[in-house]
Every structure is written in structure tokens, then in C-alpha cells.
Amino acid sequence: MRRLSFAEAVREAMVQEMERDPTVFVFGIGVPSHAKIFGTTAGLEEQFGAERCFDTPISEESMTGFALGAALRGLRPVHVHIRVDFLLLAMNQLVNMISCYNYTTGGRTPIPLVIRAIIGRGWGQGAQHSKSLISYFTHVPGLKVVAPTTPVDAKGLMIAAIRSEDPVIFLEHRWLHWAVDAVPEDAAASPIGTARVLRRGRDLTVVAVSWMVVEAMHAADILARHGIELEVIDPRTLAPLDVDTLAASVSRTRTCIVADCDWVFSGFSAELAASITERCFGQLTKPVRRLGWAHTPCPTVRALENVFYPNAETIVHVVEDMLGCGPFDLAGVDFYNHENRFKGPF
């Protein structure tokens, strides 16, 4: 099978859906410009014309309302935000309008709309350009939230999101755009609402979100060399959440780490820890441990960014602590190859 990057997979999903369904269109600030939203919108304007792929004024609140209106009258908009932070300008439309529109019309109104937002770090992005806001969206009934981590899921879930009759927030960690894997050519949707077990293991379950899946898999590789087998689960859809798969795993391993791509306090990881404790109470041999960002705005300097973000090394140390093993020799392991790969500015 041919191999695609995550970014190419997102792009291919949109292209195939636009070819299949003339009501699909893609728009947002910078969408047709030469930077092409990290390449994910490349070629769309050329293939489908400015009618179906266009830029907008810098008016986030109103362009989100615009997407709702278009969805109400039979189009399927894909609205793109190059930083999830900018969605804060559109929270009124998202929370007060889009999430409850179907409900307040007695369930009679499909809202087929996708909001793509880029989350996560680059370097030096700082307090206003590196949030995730996962728990903001997942807290609100009526919004579906997906955060794929593999190119295959990126394609499958983008297709599912576009075909969904409900609003879907599609969160893409910008570093995941580089991930490359074999991706099927046909346009098949992955089901929204199911988790994926990425790696089987007997000793401890790691539930990881978005970029932290990469770190968790890295940690699993390292620990496997020392005889520790991690089970790594990617929820893929954050709302509605597939608790059954998570609970089944934790029932076997009896220990769980939640690795979130967001602040810990009052966040998605709090929900996961609570749900798992509720479902697996009595089976757990240790409290559920949570990893996430330091409870501060994101600083811009690398020296602090490295402290702010947990990574595979953090996971390894937490596993050592929870299982009472190690400390393992980590000499020679590069925990910062992604950070070092990234060159600025954008």
C-alpha cells in the first residue's frame, strides 16, 4: 500500500469527499494561501475552484456562524483554524448555537459541519498559540470531538466527520502532520466513538491523547527492552468516549496512566481517571496517574517548554514508580528528536 503523511491523509479525505459530494466545501483564514495549512489544503482551490475553497476575513465568531448557516441549508462546511486558540473567538457560536441547534429544534436539524483546528506545539509558540482546549469542547453536550493520531485514522475519521450529521471538532496536533504510514486508497469512514488498542501489553495501560500517543509508544518500546509490557490505547474520539475499551484493558492490567495533551487540572484526564476509577474500582492496584502539561500558560523558551510538556521519559519514570521497577538505564535514548527536528518559524 502507498504511504501518506498524516497531513496528506487529511487532504486526501477532504478531496475524496469533495469529489463525491458537491455540497462539501473547505474554508477558513489562510486555507487557499500558499502555506496551505501545513499542506493539508494543497490543491483544493485548483481542483474545486474558489467557490469551494476560500479565504475569509479575520472574523472568527461570524465565520463560525456562517458555517452553521451553510449547514442548516444543505451544505457540508469544513471550517479550518490554523490554531485552536482562535476558536475562543468563536465560543459563542460553538457552545451557544452549534452544540444545541439540533436539540432546540426538537431533533429535526442535521448540522453536518466539521471544524478542523490545529493544536499543539511548534517552538516558541507561547501562551496564545499552543493550547488544546480539549476539555472545553468535550464538556459540552452536542459536540463530537475527534483527535486522530495515525494517518489511517486521520483519513478515516475525516471522512466520517464530513459525513456526520452532527458537528464534529477535528483536532490535529501539528507534529502529527509528519507521521507517515500506509493509508488505504479508498474512501472508507472510521467509526466515530471507538478507541483503538495500538499495542497489547499485560503490565500497565496507558491511555494517551493525540501527540502523547507517540510518546507513549516510544515509552513502550523502551520499556519492552526491560521486560515491561505497556498496553497503549488511543481513544481517537474524545466525545463520545469509548469507556468500554478502556475499562476492559484496565481490568486486565489493573494499573493505568492517562497521558493527556492538555492541562491536567479539571481536564480530559480528570474525566478519564474518574471514569476508569468508577468502572474499575476495586480492580485497580494503584491510583490512576495522570500526565499532562504544567498548570501554567505555555512559556516560549525551550528550557521551560521541556519542563512544561511531559514526554516518553516522563512516562517511563511514572511506570517505574507505579510498578516499583527500574530505574532503567536510559542513556543514549533521544527524547527530544521531534523538538530538535522542528525548525522555525511557523
Binding site: 465560543m91 432546540t104 501562551a127 496564545q128 476539555s135 512559556p299
Partner: protein, 368 residues
């Protein structure tokens, strides 16, 4: 509650609304640099009576009416704070704050940190939450967890006039950052009896910030962590259950951004049982966070899974029948407590009918 009105002095009884008015009035009297800014602050309804007449008394430079401009309004408050004022920004529905989320989260919450401590943005943002009736999907949300999730914000949910007096006086006089207060509409008209020696503003003078949780009642059987009006509901439930030998310990979370972890953990260590009653949705919310505190530190102290009550996972419906199901009521709360403590239902305990919380507060005026 059963004490005759004559037995109480006027000074020890105050409504929630009067406490808010007093806090606003005192802020303007004591601090020249305080201004109140918001839509409706000078109209005849005056933010449900909490700013009535202040416009005339303190003039349009201190009490400032705005157009409908939530994003702009909060931004203006931030700028005013940067240039030496203490702004109090009001929104008569917390839902309207979603129009100002950019200023709240991207600016106010991190203005201090983002600039390495060069700036301070002291301000109080008052948001009114809560049901009355028929408010529906866009007028009854309770967004404390969204704000509490974000570093840099202090989030409070006062459940008594005393909490208002202490918290607001401290915030205005001493705290140098943004404070978001969620005030519950249904409590506005309620009268509360406070301690004989009111602590305001001495609590602030003692230097302990009132930005933390409060122990409201001692009990051995179950720990109830509640927010806002659910604290009152918990007290009502506790009183009804005490004759049945069920003793509830009640903690008013009060400050979702800065919960008192030790208070909660100590209590649960004694009772072994935890019930959380919040005014918002449970998923990803305050209830999840309190669970996290216990589950992540000492789950072995729990002798049963945690029970949680909050809004049902739907937008708020307006039909009376559904609204009553949407919000937890006294019956749900008592039933949850009984099940948690005794392991099942107890037919000997007379549960109240499903008359909604709203009906009770509509007629009941206090004092609590």
C-alpha cells in the same frame, strides 16, 4: 430555619442579593479606583438589584453602562486594570461570557505570566448562573470548569452572603489578578443567617485568601462536596437525614480553581464515602476533578465508588417536566446519599416528592 423571625436581629440576616449590593457599594466607597462596567448596570433593574442606584450616587465615571459588546467590554476592563483601575465586569448570564472567551482565556488569564510578571490585571468578573424556569439552552449554563481549567484565573462560586462579603472584599482589596465569580440566580432572594460575629472584612485582614474550600457541616458517614446552590441542597438533605442517623459532612468547594485538597482528602479518609454535587455537567467538569483529587492520591480510603450529581448531559430543555429531570433535585440527592451510606434504598426514610428545587426556592425566602 425553624427559629422565629423575632429571635433574630436584622444585622445577622441578609439576602444573597443584598450581600452582592453591599459588596458593590463598599467597593465603590472604599476604593476610588473601582469601577463597575457592564450591560444593564445603570438600568432600573440593576443586575438583579445588585447595582441599583449606584450609577446616580457614584456617577457615570464609576458605574459605566456599555452597549452589547461582551468581547470589547472585557477587553476594556483589562485595559483599565492595566492603567490603574479595578474594574468589576458584570454579565447577567454566564452564557454571554462565551462571547468574551478570547479576552478571558487568551488575554486576562495569562497577561501576568505571558509578560513574565510585568503586568497585573486585577479585576472581578461577575457572571450569573442558574435556573429559574424555562431559561433553556442558552441561559442556564454553568461554565466553572472551563474557567478553572485555565491557569491564571481564580474562580469562585459563593454559596452564602458571608462568602460574598469575604471573597469580594478580599479580591477587590488584595488580589492582583482576574477573579471570576459565578453567582446563582436562584439564591438572590434568599435570606441567610450568618454567624454572630461577621468576619468581613477581617478575614481579608488576616491575610488568608478566601480562595479555597469551606467546611460547612461535620458528619461521619459521607462527604458531600458541593458547589453554589448545591451546597444549600446538601444542607437541606443533611437535615432531613440526620434523624435517620445519617450524618453528612458538607464541604463547599467554593473555589473550583483552588480546591482545598487536604480538606477533601481528610474528610473522605474519615467517611470513606464521597458524593459530589455540582451545578454543571459532570463530564470533564468539577465532579471529575474532585474525583481526580481522591483517585489520584488515596483511592484506598474510598469504601464505595464515588456518587455524582449534576446537570444531565443535554442542553437545558425548557419544558417543566424535563427541566425538573435535567437538574438534580432534593429527592435525587437524598436517594444518592442513602444508597451510598446504607448500600441500598431505605423505605423508612421519607423522600420528598419530585417537586423541583425551583418550586421550593420560589416560595422559600429564608433565612437559611
Amino acid at each position: 430555619m425553624d427559629e422565629s423571625p423575632q429571635a433574630m436581629t436584622a444585622a445577622s440576616i441578609q439576602t444573597y442579593r443584598d450581600a452582592l449590593f453591599e459588596a458593590m457599594e463598599q467597593a465603590l466607597i472604599r476604593h476610588d479606583h473601582t469601577v463597575i462596567i457592564g450591560q444593564g448596570v445603570t438600568d432600573h433593574k440593576g443586575i438583579f438589584g445588585t447595582t441599583i442606584g449606584l450609577g446616580e450616587r457614584f456617577g457615570p465615571r464609576r458605574v459605566i453602562e456599555t452597549p452589547l459588546m461582551e468581547e470589547g467590554s472585557l477587553g476594556i476592563c483589562l485595559g483599565a486594570a492595566l492603567n490603574g483601575l479595578y474594574p468589576i465586569n458584570t454579565h447577567i448570564r454566564a452564557d454571554f461570557a462565551f462571547l468574551a472567551m478570547n479576552q478571558m482565556i487568551n488575554l486576562a488569564a495569562k497577561y501576568r505570566y505571558m509578560f513574565g510578571g510585568l503586568f497585573e490585571v486585577p479585576m472581578l468578573v461577575r457572571l450569573v448562573i442558574g435556573r429559574s424556569w424555562g431559561q433553556g439552552a442558552q441561559h442556564s449554563q454553568s461554565p466553572q470548569s472551563m474557567f478553572a481549567h485555565t491557569p491564571g484565573l481564580v474562580v469562585v462560586m459563593p454559596s452564602t452572603p458571608e462568602a460574598i462579603r469575604e471573597t469580594y472584599a478580599y479580591a477587590i482589596a488584595h488580589h492582583r489578578g482576574p477573579v471570576i465569580s459565578l453567582e446563582h440566580r436562584l439564591m438572590y432572594e434568599l435570606a441567610f443567617r450568618s454567624d454572630p460575629a461577621p468576619q468581613s472584612p477581617s478575614a481579608s485582614q488576616s491575610g488568608t485568601p478566601p480562595f479555597t474550600s469551606r467546611l460547612e457541616r461535620r458528619g461521619r458517614d459521607v462527604t458531600i462536596v458541593a458547589t453554589s446552590i448545591m451546597v444549600l441542597e446538601a444542607k437541606r438533605a443533611a437535615e432531613r437525614l440526620a434523624p435517620h442517623d445519617i450524618e453528612c459532612e458538607i464541604i463547599d468547594l467554593h473555589c473550583p480553581s483552588h480546591p482545598d485538597r487536604d480538606l477533601i482528602l481528610d474528610s473522605v479518609a474519615r467517611t470513606g464515602k464521597l458524593l459530589i454535587a455540582d451545578t454543571s455537567w459532570l463530564a470533564y467538569g468539577v465532579a471529575a476533578e474532585v474525583c481526580r483529587i481522591v483517585a489520584g492520591t488515596a483511592p484506598h480510603v474510598l469504601t464505595a465508588p464515588v456518587a455524582m450529581l449534576g446537570m444531565q448531559p443535554a442542553p437545558c430543555p425548557t419544558a417543566k417536566s424535563l427541566e425538573d429531570m435535567f437538574y438534580p433535585n432534593l429527592r435525587d440527592l437524598m436517594q444518592a446519599i442513602v444508597r451510598l451510606v446504607t448500600g441500598g434504598d431505605n423505605p423508612a426514610i421519607d423522600l420528598p416528592d419530585e417537586r423541583s428545587m425551583a418550586d421550593f426556592y420560589k416560595t422559600f425566602r429564608g433565612p437559611f
